[in-house]
Amino acid sequence: MLTQVGFIGLGVMGKPMAMNLIKGGYSLRVYGRRKEAMAPLVEAGAVACGSAEEAARGCDVIFTMVTTTRDVQEVVLGERGVIAGARPGAIVVDMGTISPAATRAIAARLAEAGIEALDAPVSGGGIGAISGNLSIMVGGKPEIFEQVKPLFSCMGKNIVHIGPNSAGQVAKACNQMVMLIALQGLAEAFTFARRNGLDSARVYEALSGGAAQSRVLEVLGKRMVERNYDPGIEARLHYKDIQIVLDEAHTLGMALPGTALVMQMFNALIGRGGGNQDSSQLIEVIEAISKP
């Protein structure tokens, strides 16, 4: 039984996920770069720590939920990082979305120190994190996955062990490709509908019942219809994720033409200053291309 849990990274995603672990009866040691990020967790019973190293000390399992590949490398392997505090046999679970190649390298470094690793990126956004409804895609040894599974169950519903280390990140990359190309499709469809003088709310309603139905349509399509771009998922995060996907494609020598096009649309969105708005704002880039 894993009982002592560390949690590092208490942002939009990490905070509610850590809360759900506390609710599930686990005792938490937490660390967030911003001190004030730790306050609500401490109020709920967590122990605030001064570094990732300190948060890892004495823990059976340590979760990390930070933004970039470099952040994970820093938090896990850096000075005062998890690797300095974790005991042999402990399990490090990275739930951020980062490079598969870097994930394999981190797992190998941890293994040298006798520490186990899982990659477990999630899909479902802030809403899924709060309601404990995330999809979790896991890479790592099956027996390690089984040990951590009860904790995953506090945070998510659809929990799938995909394969060895980094398999979770690869699955997440697939998730992002499907989702973001669908988003591009929605942005084009609603622009097309509006230019034909249609009420996009009616189109949304019609599409929701047919073969074009999807969760992206349901959530982000609705935001496009309402032109409400409060995040949700900030565009800058998807923009970061697509770069991970295309870096892999470059290294593997494979063509992902659709994903590559969507990345350019995200570049334009970021260039327009939309990085902190919801990704559904992509529709405004499509509209701008063919302004009547």
Partner: protein, 296 residues
Amino acid sequence: MSNMNVNVGFIGLGIMGKPMALNLIKGGYPLRVYGRRVESMAPLAAAGAHACASPEEVARAADMTFIMVSDTQDVEQVILGPKGVLSGAQPGAIVVDMSTISPVATRSLASRLMDHGVEMLDAPVSGGETGAVNGTLSLMVGGKPEVFTRVKPLFERLGKKIVHIGANGAGQAAKACNQIVASMTIEGVAEAFTFARRNGVDPGRVREALLGGFANSRILEVHGQRMLDRDFRPGFKVRLHQKDLRIVMETAHQMGIALPGSALVAQHLNALIGSGDGELDSSALVQVIERLNEGR
């Protein structure tokens, strides 16, 4: 000032760097050279150059230090790394980077060097190995005009068309523009020839007709002919083209600029690399378009 009074450093003695360094020696400039592989320095030493053990040692006694290495990280390492140019260069010296790297990284390198009173030019080239050997490269230069003027006599030993584009990074930005136009033109010729074939039309005749019109270009002429002959000997290798285009795409990503056409060509280059065609000439891009249209 006689050429003998200008001490010149040259770092990076690969396919491009070696003939460029030799052309400077022919121009009468005393050269201090450094190459990662010791054996790469031998032909230069035989021609009279002084072989050094590190970029730092090259820069220590050089008024101008040229760099010709593969990518952004290499340039950063050569300049900022341990035993790098920065630790050897005297205030007032000039660093001339002729590699093709990121304009964003170039601007930051220039400002790091300026902090130590060292000037920088970025001067990426186009024209390949042939141009390097014959001294007929095209040079696109970024940096202060007065620094450009000082280095220009040396540039003239390396190339024919030498254009000062603007401030630091401007040369790299121009090189990126060169890649954007060239990549998409190759893609266009490849698509047109495939379209012609599928319509039962001889693409050789199409090329001939197009050469007289608005679609005329050096790429239609040269790469078009290679596509017709199925002669994919390089030329400019797919692998290097992929690398250069990646710099463009990363810069566009960093700066929030959409380049949808270039992005598509980059994917087609990826596909070529994955099918083991990285050592072929870029005109092999036509094979990707053909594969897309197979099976009917």
